[in-house]
């Protein structure tokens, strides 16, 4: 720095002006080189400005200097100075937007070329309003056109001399170096900013990747849960047996989550039938209906939200209720579910084998499984009901068939009875009609029965001969002429066999009357002493009686050998001329 101070303060002018010019040029070149070197390592615009002010003011012997880097897009910038009090610098800082608008009105005109540098000296800067009126040099540079600009104002020299042409050239070269350094610094800062942004983006990306990994794990777990839910549904879909359904539900719901102990109860309140399934619980047994109701009431009491709507369920947390019921289970998660008001149940699961609590996803999975299980349980119950109804229907059909057969038999019987009744009525009607009037049939029947009974009765000892014996008689008959001849010869006896009243009315002269009813008495008196060999002529008959034949037969029985009958009777006798009395 001492050497540099010497260069800034050259020796006084003398005769050797040419040499001095050369030395001055060398000095300026050396200054340019030093400045370029000094600024090459710097990357902060403020440091570059500070170092440049120091180098320029030292080389040119200037007392005051101020520099500013302005962001023309935003109107903000940084200000630094040497030989200027801080309040003045602060004023300049506050005045940056105005300065930017004033000296760099063209914004956004990016040409992409190198920074444009403009050095204004002397009266040209008068009235510019920048800092104070002591400023002799004003350097304007568009660092990155449209984005950043640089403004540098320098005061008077110590010597009070104005800047020469050579000084202005040096100053222009220095301004170019400054502009390039600032441009590089700004670019470097942009790069740094971009790098920082990149690092930040990288960090964000890594966080995002990590979050994505977490999300992926969750999704994989969800997928596994959904897959297990689908498997459960697929297994339960074809089941219609409630016991098998409960068993498979426990198996399929506990496996994916790694639960060791599980218990499910379905209770039919109408029939008081309980179906249970245990898994991982020793001594699992069938539960009494009272125990089931106690479990249901206890679980419902602790269920949130409480609902008895059909096909609803809620989660309950009731530690200890299963111990009271004799079930070795401390539930980590329990569900109270309602299929309908007649069928309720609870499903309870112990803690996972991992010892961790169930996550919300696992709880969601279990809720989903519960929903599926309830749907299939309802289906199984509906199927059981349909099956039972079918059986009832079959039984009723059989009963109906039996009843129809009975009815058919009864109808046949009734039909037969009706026919019999009609026939019976017809018979009764005919009988009544016959009773209401006389009929030939009745008369014939009466005669027939009278004859039949009479003939049968006539076989009794007091019966009479149906056909008279006289019909069968073979007694010899004689004519009236022969009888008269025998009477005239006096060789015969004539017997009148008719009743006495007929005899008394008229009879053959000399005839003896022996009526049949009095035969036994009269025979002894009238005929008993007759010679058995003497001819006896018997006569007397009517249309209704052959008295002669009957009497002749009796005489035959009394050993009379010659008994004859006169068939013509008195009429034949009179015709023959015989006498009558």
């Amino acid at each position: 720095m001492t050497e540099r101070a010497d260069k800034i303060n050259p020796p006084p002018r003398g005769p050797q002006t040419g040499l001095e010019d050369l030395e001055k040029k060398a000095f300026y070149l050396e200054t340019l080189l030093d400045t370029s070197r000094e600024l090459a390592d710097l990357v902060q615009p403020r440091q570059i400005l500070d170092r440049f002010l120091l180098m320029v003011m030292g080389a040119l012997g200037i007392l005051q200097g101020v520099g500013a880097v302005i962001n023309t897009e935003t109107g903000h910038g940084l200000v630094t100075g040497r030989g200027i009090p801080d309040p003045a610098l602060n004023e300049i800082s506050d005045d940056i937007p105005r300065i930017s608008k004033k000296y760099f009105p063209e914004r956004g005109t990016s040409s992409g070329s190198a920074p444009r540098v403009k050095v204004i000296t002397g009266d040209a800067i008068t009235g510019q309003g920048l800092c104070s009126a002591h400023m002799q040099v004003l350097i304007l540079s568009d660092l990155l056109p449209g984005r950043f600009s640089c403004l540098l104002a320098l005061g008077e020299r110590i010597t009070g001399e104005p800047l020469g042409e050579q000084d202005k050239n040096v100053l222009l070269n220095l301004a170019n170096i400054l502009a390039n350094s600032l441009s590089h610094a700004i670019c470097f800062m942009d790069i740094q900013q971009m790098n920082a942004d990149l690092l930040k983006k990288n960090a964000e990306l890594e966080a995002t990747i990590e979050e994505f990994g977490q999300t992926r794990q969750n999704l994989e777990r969800r997928f596994f849960h959904i897959e297990s839910l689908l498997d459960l549904n697929a297994e339960l879909r074809s089941l219609i047996n409630e016991d098998e359904l409960l068993r498979l539900f426990l198996l399929a719901s506990m496996g994916p989550i790694g639960i060791e102990k599980g218990f499910v109860l379905v209770y039919d309140r109408e029939d008081r039938i309980a179906k249970t399934a245990y898994r991982g619980i020793e001594n699992g047994k069938a539960l009494h209906s009272q125990v089931c109701e106690m479990l249901l009431y206890s679980a419902f009491d602790k269920t949130e939200p409480k609902s008895l709507a059909n096909m609803s369920f809620g989660r309950f947390n009731a530690p200890g209720i299963f111990k009271e019921a004799g079930i070795d289970l401390e539930p980590e998660c329990g569900f109270f579910f309602v299929i309908d008001l007649a069928c309720m149940g609870i499903a309870a699961f112990g803690p996972p084998v991992s010892g961790q609590s169930l996550s919300s996803n696992e709880m969601s999975l279990m809720a989903g499984q519960m929903s599926g299980f309830m749907a299939y349980l309802e289906k199984a119950r509906a199927f059981s009901m349909i099956k039972k109804l079918n059986e009832d229907l079959t039984n009723r059909n059989e009963q109906l068939t039996h009843t129809v057969q009975e009815l058919t038999r009864a109808m046949n019987r009734i039909s037969a009875l009706e026919k019999a009744r009609a026939h019976f009525k017809l018979v009764v009607q005919k009988k009544a009609e016959r009773a209401a009037k006389a009929s030939w049939l009745d008369c014939a029947l009466i005669l027939f029965f009278a004859a039949a009974i009479g003939l049968l009765f006539n076989f009794a000892p007091q019966g009479i001969s149906i056909i008279p014996e006289s019909v069968k008689s073979d007694l010899p008959s004689t004519s009236a002429a022969q009888v008269r001849k025998l009477v005239d010869e006096g060789a015969t006896i004539i017997v009148d066999a008719r009743p006495k009243e007929l005899y008394d009315r008229k009879h053959i002269r000399g005839a003896i009357n022996v009526p049949l009813p009095l035969f036994d008495n009269l025979y002894t008196v009238k005929l008993g002493r007759l010679d058995p060999k003497r001819p006896i002529i018997v006569y007397g008959r009517t249309i209704s009686r052959l008295y002669d034949v009957e009497l002749a037969n009796r005489l035959k029985k009394h050993d009379h050998e010659d008994v004859r009958v006169l068939p013509g009777g008195i009429r034949a006798w009179e015709a023959e001329g015989g006498q009558v009395e």
Binding site: M411, I414, S415, L417, E418, R421, F424, K425, V428, Q429, K431, A432, E433, R434, A435, A436, K437, A438, S439, D442, C443, I446, L447, F449, A450, A451, I453, G454, L455, F457, N458, Q462, G463, I464, S465, I466, I467, P468, S470, V471, E501, R541, T542, I543, S544, R545, L546
Partner: protein
């Protein structure tokens, strides 16, 4: 006119017909029983009329005696009373005709109606028979009570109605509905 109606009412009264019926029935029972017990005498009585050929006298005696008994019993019991009283009437008419013929022919014989030792028959016998015939006609037309046959039929009819009433209505409707063109007779309705 009123007296005639009253007389007509009395003459046609059912109890009078019942009395006639019982009288005729009892008479014929008595006559029949006697004639059955003394068939020979009855045969002689028939023969004494000298109307029936000798070969038919005995069998006629047997049949007549039992016919009288059976008809008398049926009449008293009220079984086939119309037919019985008709036969009794016919028999009475036959007897009356035979008596009249015999009386006209001048044959002196007993009636033989109730016993074989009757007094000689006079015209009183056919007259009595005519009265009985009138009774028989009365019975035929006015007799309507105390018929054993009707009582039995009524019982049967009640049984039939009982069966009918115990059958189901639907079955009865299908079985008891008269066939087209077949109307119930009054007798069916009475039964």
């Amino acid at each position: 006119m009123e007296s005639w109606n009253s007389a007509k009412k009395i003459l046609g009264h059912k109890y009078l017909a019942l009395a006639f019926r019982l009288l005729l029935g009892a008479t014929f029972i008595y006559a029949g029983v006697y004639k059955i017990g003394y068939a020979g005498e009855f045969a002689e009585s028939i023969a004494s009329y000298q109307i029936v050929p000798y070969w038919a006298v005995n069998i006629l005696a047997i049949i007549f005696a039992w016919t009288e008994l059976i008809c008398g019993m049926l009449l008293v019991a009220g079984i086939r009373s119309k037919s019985a009283v008709t036969m009794i009437g016919v028999m009475l008419a036959l007897f009356t005709a035979a008596m009249s013929i015999t009386l006209i022919r001048g044959i002196s014989t007993g009636c033989g109606c109730f016993s074989g030792v009757d007094a000689p028959m006079t015209w009183k016998a056919p007259a009595r028979n005519i009265i009985w015939i009138a009774m028989a006609v009365h019975v035929y037309y006015f007799d309507s009570i105390f018929h054993l046959e009707r009582i039995i039929f009524t019982g049967i009819s009640e049984i039939s109605h009982a069966i009918h009433s115990h059958l189901p209505d639907a079955d009865l409707a299908s079985h008891t509905r008269p066939r087209p063109g077949q109307q119930r007779t009054d007798r069916e309705n009475q039964l």
